[in-house]
């Protein structure tokens, strides 16, 4: 980046004025704001908001500012620069991530990839009851209820929350990597089971 180019912070250009409004909105927001939400609050065209965001992304970039603008969880938000992580670590806790167990991560992965998904489905895949793990993830705000399965008395289903995307630094769930196709894997395991089991039958 052309890091040494001086930036005039005060100008009366309309884009700069809009950029200041967007800055103001982002510094008080409790969650990432989409371009549409910013446009509605600023009472502006989404295209002009995009222009302002591009300007701000340059100004609030890693290495250039302690405040960094990031596109996360379907919106825009400020965070601390990574270079300040040590200082932040001395002052702030990370309650959402603290003590996420292997079981929680497995459950989170299942909900992220297959959600909305019910507790019985999670239990079936993991092979153990999922109640307390699911409750823990709901309490942390990483997953939330998302309707019920069809039919009377259908089980509650869960999906991941925007906080999940934010904590894992994802713009959206589509950023999750594709995993190996289940079909192939199954064929492979099946073949190994059979070679062992059927040799005995012969």
């Amino acid at each position: 980046m052309d890091g040494d180019r001086p930036l005039r912070l005060i100008t009366s250009s309309p884009v700069d004025r809009l950029a200041r409004t967007v800055e103001a909105l982002l510094v008080v927001a409790s969650q990432p704001l989409s371009a549409d939400e910013l446009a509605a609050a600023a009472n502006e065209d989404p295209e002009r908001i995009e222009t302002a965001l591009r300007l701000l992304a340059e100004r609030f970039a890693e290495g250039r500012s302690g405040i960094v603008l990031e596109h996360v969880a379907g919106g825009w938000a400020f965070r601390a620069s990574r270079e300040a992580a040590e200082a932040c670590g001395r002052l702030f806790e990370r309650p959402v991530e603290r003590g996420l167990t292997a079981a929680s991560l497995e459950t989170l992965a299942i909900v992220a990839y297959l959600g909305p998904v019910s507790r019985p489905e999670i239990a079936r895949i993991r092979g153990v009851a999922a109640d307390s793990v699911v409750a823990g993830l709901v309490e942390r705000g990483l997953i939330a209820e998302a309707g019920r399965e069809e039919g009377i008395g259908g089980a509650v289903r869960y999906r991941t929350t925007p906080l999940f995307e934010r904590v894992f630094g994802l713009e959206s769930l589509s950023q999750l990597p594709r995993l190996d196709d289940v079909g192939e894997d199954a064929v492979e395991i099946r073949a190994r089971l059979e070679t062992v089991a059927e040799r005995r039958g012969a």
């Binding site: 991560l105 992965a109 995993l179 059979e194 040799r199």
Partner: protein
């Protein structure tokens, strides 16, 4: 080293590993009875005897033990088990392999998430409202003072008199029937309960029945009924021991 030839000596099964697997897949052996830790120990002992690490055997073994664990975990979910029991052994094996693959995929995804979390350890952001954020405005449409008056009048209204109608169901004392039945048994060794209850109200019948149960509990009578809903016959208890109330026991006489 051939994993399938691993000799097992477990409580529920004795023989080579591949036979165990065959029996399990054909559902001729209940996995609930199989000590999977025992299989792992047997494998480790065998591995130690050989003194060298056979990676291929270890990989094979892990897949198979994982399959057994999955099958065993299935027992935790009776609905699922019923569903799986309908499958032919062939289909069950296929279903098992599919699930194992699914679980493996979840584990891979979890590993990716764990790595991601590690990489994001230096990303700090604020959770919750900003310190000097504007207060969320909850605006209320104009209201009529009359709603306040109505609310207070409702609070000041005398509570409706509680209906005592249900208390008028009068229950006769159980003792009344106890005395009556004891007197009856003084004259007759046995009587027919239905005949005695005839003509009583439902409530009296209920209390009379309680009295009979009380007499039975204290050992004063024995009850006979040939079949459900057949007439109940109440017989005076014969011996002294039979008459002694249960709670005095024999300890007291000792």
């Amino acid at each position: 080293m051939e994993v399938r030839e691993l000799e097992l000596d477990l409580d529920a099964f004795e023989g080579p590993f591949d036979l165990l697997l065959t029996l399990v897949l054909k559902e001729e052996l209940d996995l609930a009875e199989v000590d999977i830790a025992g299989i792992v120990i047997a494998f480790c002992e065998r591995l130690a005897e050989r003194g060298e690490l056979d990676l291929e055997a270890c990989g094979e073994f892990l897949v198979l033990v994982a399959a057994l664990l999955e099958l065993k975990a299935r027992g935790l979910f009776p609905d699922e088990e019923a569903e799986l029991l309908e499958l032919e052994p062939e289909e069950a094996a296929e279903e098992l392999a599919r699930r194992l693959a699914e679980y493996r995929r979840a584990k891979e995804a979890a590993a990716w998430l764990a790595e991601r979390l590690e990489g994001e350890g230096d990303r700090f952001f604020r959770l919750g409202p900003a310190p000097l954020a504007p207060r969320v405005e909850r605006r209320l449409a104009p209201q009529e003072p009359a709603v306040l008056v109505a609310a207070l009048r409702a609070l000041a209204a005398e509570p409706p008199a509680v209906s005592l109608a249900h208390l008028e169901l009068r229950f006769p004392p159980v003792s009344q029937f106890l005395e009556r039945f004891r007197a009856l048994l003084g004259r007759r060794r046995v009587f027919d309960l239905d005949a005695e209850l005839d003509g009583m109200t439902r409530i009296e019948q209920a209390v009379a029945f309680l009295a009979v149960l009380e007499l039975r509990r204290s050992g004063e009578v024995a009850l006979e009924q040939a079949a459900p809903f057949a007439p109940i016959r109440v017989r005076r208890a014969e011996s002294e021991t039979e008459r002694r109330p249960a709670w005095t026991g024999t300890a007291r006489s000792a």
